[in-house]
């Protein structure tokens, strides 16, 4: 049995232009691979990708809609990136997003006599807390009891989605339409629009603040240093006197809270009432976005914009060219794998040969 062997030689830190170029090359390669799946349906990939990009950013209206889509993706991307920085494998952003949306619905349905500024601020706080609480459970289990984080965060997603389903089919069911969706939350909790006559809302600003905050926390604070040290080498971090248990728990709180904000933003900024499909997998896309962005806040922001283009563009491809919209999931999976392989080039030079 002769396998192709790929020899790797350690290299010194790659130049900056190389680091910036890598995600761009990853995108090009992954679109090239994705083109195969368009070709097997007999579609011209160039036409398809033209529709994808033009449909997402070709007009002012499309561009603003793309930013609406990018808002939850930036937030889940940041949530995952912070967690992965500490090598805390939070795959639960999806459930944490739903927790945030659930709490924001609960609070919004109370119709409290509050001014919009206060109501919205409290909505953001409540949603952050809900996501954080849902996330700190697996975080605590990981940090204190060494329970595998990947599995618990994933399973928590299913539990949360069933909780939402139970509420929407039970106490929160719309009494007029009898659809499994809540009635609208208080008007004073609606996020104001950023651009009139569009759907772009202040959730986008919240997302940008999250990007800046992550940059500040991870790069400029002691906590950030501890998070990075925990991720890079937990044993060495312990040796330096860093409490890695505490770091993991704090990271799980911040990460879950930010994912919860994605839920608040979708609820108060786009839907105004809770529906079962409030997230079509934004939490999982967050993983792809965090990796393509190389866990760097600015990188995460840019890659969230890219995937917002892919997702909105896929819908345009769907109704214009009859290409199944799931092409966006195919592109996401391929991009994640290609980007991961590209990261190898940061550490090694690659030589291809044959093994024995």
């Amino acid at each position: 049995m002769s396998l192709i062997s790929i020899k790797l030689e350690k290299r010194t830190a790659p130049p900056v232009w190389f680091q910036v170029l890598t995600p761009v090359i990853a995108i090009v390669i992954s679109l090239g691979i994705s083109a195969i799946f368009l070709l097997i349906l007999g579609k011209n990939p160039f036409t398809a990708f033209y529709y994808m990009f033009y449909g997402a950013i070709g007009t002012k209206f499309a561009f603003l809609e793309m930013l609406v889509k990018a808002t939850p993706l930036i937030l889940t991307g940041i949530a995952v990136a912070i967690a992965f920085t500490a090598k805390y494998w939070n795959i639960g952003a999806e459930g944490q997003l739903y927790a945030g949306a659930l709490a924001a619905t609960w609070f919004g349905l109370m119709n409290l006599p509050l001014s919009p500024v206060i109501y919205i601020s409290l909505e953001i706080l409540v949603g952050f807390l809900a996501g954080a609480i849902w996330s700190v459970v697996p975080g605590y289990l990981k940090a204190e009891l060494k329970v595998d984080d990947v599995v618990t965060t994933l399973l928590m997603n299913y539990i949360m989605i069933y909780i939402v389903s139970a509420l929407l089919n039970g106490p929160w069911r719309n009494p007029v339409t009898m659809y499994p969706s809540s009635i609208a939350i208080s008007k004073n909790a609606f996020f104001p629009k950023l651009v009139p006559q569009s759907r772009l809302h202040i959730g986008f600003l919240v997302a940008i603040i999250a990007v800046l905050l992550m940059y500040f926390i991870v790069r400029k604070t002691k906590l950030g240093f501890e998070i990075r040290a925990t991720g890079a080498n937990p044993r060495a971090a312990n040796f330096l006197g860093i409490n890695t248990t505490k770091s993991i728990i704090i990271v799980s709180i911040i990460s879950g809270g930010i994912a919860g904000l994605a839920g608040v933003s979708e609820l108060c900024g786009v839907q105004y009432h809770l529906i079962q499909t409030i997230s079509p997998g934004y939490g999982y896309s967050g993983i792809v976005i965090a990796m393509l962005g190389r866990l760097n806040p600015i990188g995460v922001f840019l890659s969230a914009i890219y995937f917002a283009i892919v997702i909105t563009g896929a819908n345009v491809m769907s109704y214009s060219l009859n290409i199944p919209p799931y092409i966006s999931d195919v592109i996401q999976g391929i991009t994640l794998i290609v980007m991961l392989a590209m990261l190898l080039l940061f550490e090694y030079r690659i030589k291809v040969g044959r093994s024995k």
């Binding site: 299913y158 909780i163 999931d329 999976g333 794998i337 991961l340 093994s355």
Partner: protein, 312 residues
């Protein structure tokens, strides 16, 4: 209705359902056991199962042959196993992210191809799925007969696969190599074991079992392909491997425990107890987390799990 708990037929139905629900878990968990025994955490499991469910369904839909469906589901799993092996064995990439990438890619591809071939009809098309096979004589044993010996062929395959997997892992040269590669690849290499080859083989076995597991959903449990038809069973399998301490015989008990909780939920939905049915649906996931918490202390992970091996 209230007395239904006390009747024998309730319990026969309950245990038969337990084994049915446990079937895909047994197959997938055995697959993941092979994978992790060689040192690879395969998070591609959920997507590999979903693609297996799709591949099995679409093959039967197009060819009307159930066995071709089983074959192509298994082969599709094998292909994703190979892809995973290429990423984490040959390239030595991060196992967590590679596996998640495969799950996102495989699920997306399954839905993409389904939509392309079937379209989006209001009623999903169905196939004629596997029917139960009553094994002569054995199925006539009271209670045990209808529970164990009146199942679909895939359940029988799963039950037989347990001792075979145990034999392969603990009684053969391959099993010895497999375990040594997962515990200490450098030492295994030193005594002449081809680490890459063993890991590739284990990923092929693992992927095939996961693909076959997926086929159970569309060819035996249901007779159609539905969105998220696997519903996190792959993730449950990852937990069951830990619960089973990487031992096939214990995989069986873990899968039956989970299957039992699932079956209780299915049965309780019809009772007058006033609890939303979603509570029963989330029970297995809550139980899995509890089991993980209890098991975490004693779990003896293969030492080389998550560590890529690079020959100097």
């Amino acid at each position: 209705m209230k007395n239904s708990f006390l009747t024998l037929s309730f319990w026969v139905g309950f245990f038969a359902a337990t084994i049915r629900v446990a079937t895909p878990l047994i197959l997938a968990t055995l697959g993941e056991t092979f994978s992790e025994r060689s040192g690879i955490l395969n998070l591609g499991i959920e997507g590999t199962m979903l693609f297996g469910a799709f591949a099995g369904f679409i093959t039967v839909y197009l060819t009307k042959s159930l066995w071709l469906g089983v074959l192509f589901a298994t082969l599709s799993g094998l292909m994703f196993g190979l892809l995973m092996a290429f990423l984490v064995v040959t390239l030595g990439l991060n196992q967590h992210v590679s596996g998640l990438g495969i799950t996102i890619f495989a699920s997306g591809l399954a839905y993409y191809l389904y939509r392309a071939i079937i379209g989006a009809p209001t009623v999903p098309p169905t196939i004629k799925s596997f029917s139960n096979i009553a094994i002569p004589l054995l199925s006539k044993i009271p209670v045990l007969g209808p529970v164990l010996f009146n199942q679909t062929i895939i359940t029988y395959i799963a039950l037989i696969a347990v001792p075979i997997a145990g034999y392969l892992i603990f009684k053969t040269n391959f099993g010895l190599s497999l375990r040594s590669v997962g515990e200490n690849p450098e030492a295994a290499d030193a005594v002449g074991v081809n680490v890459y080859k063993i890991r590739y083989l284990s990923m092929i076995i693992a992927g095939s079992l996961m693909g076959l597991s997926g086929a159970f959903f569309t060819l035996a449990e249901f007779n159609m392909f539905l969105y998220d038809i696997v519903g996190g069973r792959g993730w449950v399998s990852i937990a069951l491997v830990i619960f089973a301490n990487w031992v096939p015989a214990r995989v069986l008990w873990g899968a039956l425990l989970f299957g039992g909780i699932d079956a209780i939920g299915l049965r309780m939905q019809g009772t007058p107890i006033n609890v939303p049915f979603q509570v029963y649906l989330m029970l297995p996931y809550i139980l899995t987390i509890i089991v993980l918490v209890i098991g975490a202390r004693n779990a003896s992970y293969p030492s080389a799990l998550l560590k890529p091996y690079r020959r100097e």
